[in-house]
């Protein structure tokens, strides 16, 4: 079994499934309950469109806001500003019933499969619950659907696994169950948060292959969240690079990997290792410092305190707008001001 890269940018449909407009997710910081002392600006002005059947990757360091973005899209956080439009409807205005409907349309694959599965429930129980919640009353129908999904994630023979508890499964099998649960209600969108980072190299490829097969079979849209750029090209068509709550560069996968423009993207790529025996003889280039505080983000370009290419007088003062350096490749950096 193999997985080829890059993903051919097949003529994905031009129907927008999910549209994120100028999204801001701020968390209040309270001081002794007396009032708001400030905000953690986890997501600060993010906009993008996700087409039907398209896979995108959101890449960035821990703390860059990618998980907050994902949780907001899942309807777990309320945005402070901006809109998330799914299939033409704004999810932040949803009523309880609409939210329940929305959650059958969106599947979620967690990072740590063991943590994501309740330890005291069997595989069957874990997969049955979403069906019960979704109102599938007939027991036989539920079981049939469970079997079908188990076959889709290649947990066969199905009967060997139905009565197992999560701890009796290997990491790869646990992740397959998490994926099975995510696709159980036939969602249109799958949000995968570092779905393979906890797995061994070979199992990682197995799970990525499975996710890609499922995506193609069901024409799923996928948001793949990761810090590992090397797996991205096997799975996504576009990359969004996120830094300090903002998307600082976005474009087609090959364009970003072969022709990156933002100094932060350069840094990410330079830090991504490949098995080369020459690595022993050199040090990796890493930008100094740590990601900025999201409570008081730096003025101007948020990367400027760590940037080697800083244009003094501009980068500290003005927020860079998006410059389109090639078709659909947009970078927020003053270096590309024409």
């Amino acid at each position: 079994m193999t997985l080829t890269a890059p993903v051919d940018t097949k003529a994905t449909s031009t129907t927008v499934l999910l549209s994120v407009r100028n999204l801001r997710v701020w968390f209040e910081l309270r001081k002794f309950g007396l009032g708001v002392a400030g905000y953690v600006r986890a997501v600060d002005g993010v906009s993008f469109d996700l087409y039907e059947g398209e896979a995108i990757a959101v890449v960035g360091e821990s703390g860059c806001g990618k998980s907050s973005l994902m949780r907001t899209i899942l309807g777990l956080h309320r945005p402070r500003e901006g809109q998330i439009i799914f299939d033409g409807r704004d999810i932040s205005r949803f009523t309880r019933d609409e939210l329940r409907w929305y959650r059958t349309r969106v599947g979620y694959v967690q990072q740590d499969p063991y943590g994501a599965l309740p330890p005291f429930m069997t595989v069957r129980g874990i997969l049955e619950e979403p069906l019960v919640v979704a109102g599938v009353k007939d027991k036989q129908e539920r079981l049939e659907r469970i079997r079908q999904v188990m076959r889709e994630v290649k947990m066969t023979p199905v009967d060997d696994f139905l009565s197992k508890f999560p701890h009796q499964l290997s990491g790869g099998q646990q992740q397959r169950i998490v994926i099975a649960r995510a696709i159980l209600l036939e969602p249109r969108l799958l949000v995968a948060d570092e779905p393979v980072s906890m797995l061994d190299a070979s199992v990682r490829v197995e799970i990525l292959t499975l996710l890609r097969q499922l995506q193609e079979q069901h024409n799923l849209s996928v948001i793949y969240i990761t810090h590992d750029l090397s797996t991205v090209r096997y799975f996504s068509e576009r990359i969004f690079v996120m830094y300090a709550g903002q998307i600082i560069e976005k474009g087609p996968v090959n364009e970003i990997l072969e022709n990156p423009k933002h100094p932060y993207t350069w840094a990410l790529l330079a830090a991504t290792p490949e098995p080369d025996p020459q690595n022993v003889h050199k040090f990796r280039e890493v930008p100094p410092g740590e990601p900025p505080s999201l409570i008081t983000p730096p003025s101007g370009c948020r990367f400027h305190p760590r940037c080697a290419k800083i244009i003094h007088g501009t980068c500290e003062r003005q927020v860079p707008p998006g410059f389109e350096v090639s078709p659909e490749h947009i970078v927020q950096c003053w270096l590309y001001e024409e």
């Binding site: 080829t4 890269a5 360091e61 990491g171 490829v205 292959t209 096997y234 098995p275 022993v280």
Partner: protein
């Protein structure tokens, strides 16, 4: 005398007794590590690589069934030492360890400075003031600001805590440090930073490393020698340059084929099936059931063959190689004992 080697492991066995039988976690391992060099031990979860690390440091749980073989540190057989002298003269004095997920294992209610100073007080018998001075030096070394000595673990980021764990292993200036997955929970930039730090320490102090990981790409940053472990046994030992360009054992080849690359159009492969249970491993080659190059002879346990400097445990190399350990009897340690 093996003068050139900081560590020499000969026929090391570590079996655990469990309710379901004897788990053969480390099964006849031979390794040699030249002074001031770094070896990476690659393998999937459950292949026994962490058990090997624990066996070298004699950090054993209670259910040990068999613990046999020879471990030579700078030519001295430390297996012969009793527990007290091992603790006084070897553990953390000559060999220390950064255990898996060390950054989450720091004591949350003790200042990190005290935690780094403690090994020096316990193992070197220095005063508290001296130990703090040593801790301060180590902090500078691993790149943590000195002011952080007085902080508690929760006040540090993941990368900083990982550095503190490395400082704890370094403070007694051991000649060998065992690093068990030192970067697996960190994101790429932090990972690159830690790897740079480890490299610098090695250059400046001549410390040797054993790096245990499943992350092949990252391991190439540090490895001069590569040992591949499968189901409790070492199946290949090679220098890094030769290994990364041309792995010999079919398992190593498959592992390399599963590493995602940033560029090029190489297909990603995974290894179908799962590693055998260590409760009842197959009698022949343990990889045979998953091996694409399997042939008749693979029902018999292959000996380790020597090809120039490289060692490989696979029948494919019988024709053009000599036996690596011709005088080793294949008698089982448990049988030897009885």
């Amino acid at each position: 005398m093996k003068n050139g080697n900081v560590l020499q492991v000969e026929d090391l066995y570590l079996y655990f007794a469990t309710k379901r039988g004897v788990v053969q976690a480390v099964d006849g391992v031979n390794l040699a590590l030249p002074r001031s060099s770094a070896m990476v031990i690659l393998g999937e979860s459950g292949c026994g690589k962490s058990s090997l690390a624990r066996a070298i440091l004699r950090l054993l749980p209670r259910n040990v069934h068999t613990y046999a073989g020879r471990i030579l540190l700078d030519g001295q057989d430390v297996m012969a030492l009793d527990e007290d002298s091992f603790r006084e003269n070897v553990r953390w004095v000559r060999v220390s360890m950064v255990p898996q997920a060390a950054m989450n294992a720091l004591n949350p209610v003790i200042r990190v400075g005290d935690q780094v100073a403690e090994p020096a007080i316990v193992h070197l018998g220095v005063t508290k003031e001296e130990a703090w001075e040593m801790a301060r030096r180590m902090f500078r070394y691993v790149g943590v600001p000195e002011g952080f000595l007085n902080r508690y673990p929760f006040e540090l980021s993941g990368g900083m805590r990982q550095r503190v764990a490395i400082a704890m292993a370094l403070v007694t200036s051991p000649s060998l440090i065992i690093l068990d997955e030192p970067t697996s929970a960190l994101d790429v930039l932090t990972q690159a930073n830690i790897m740079n730090t480890l490299k610098r320490i090695k250059q400046e102090t001549g410390t040797s490393y054993i790096l245990i990981t499943h992350d092949i790409a990252t391991s190439s940053d540090l490895a001069e020698h590569v040992a591949v472990m499968y189901a409790g046994q070492i199946v290949e030992v090679s220098n890094a340059a030769a290994f990364f360009s041309e792995p010999l054992h079919p398992y190593s080849q498959k592992l390399m084929a599963s590493v995602p690359r940033l560029h090029g159009d190489k297909e990603l492969e995974f290894i179908p099936g799962r590693p055998p249970s260590l409760l009842n491993p197959p009698t022949g080659c343990r990889f045979a059931s998953r091996c694409p190059l399997r042939f008749g002879k693979c029902d018999q346990d292959p000996p380790t063959f020597r090809l120039g400097e490289r060692l490989v445990k696979c029948w494919l190399f019988e024709a053009d190689a000599e036996l690596a350990y011709p005088d080793t009897t294949s008698a089982h340690p448990s049988e030897q004992r009885r």
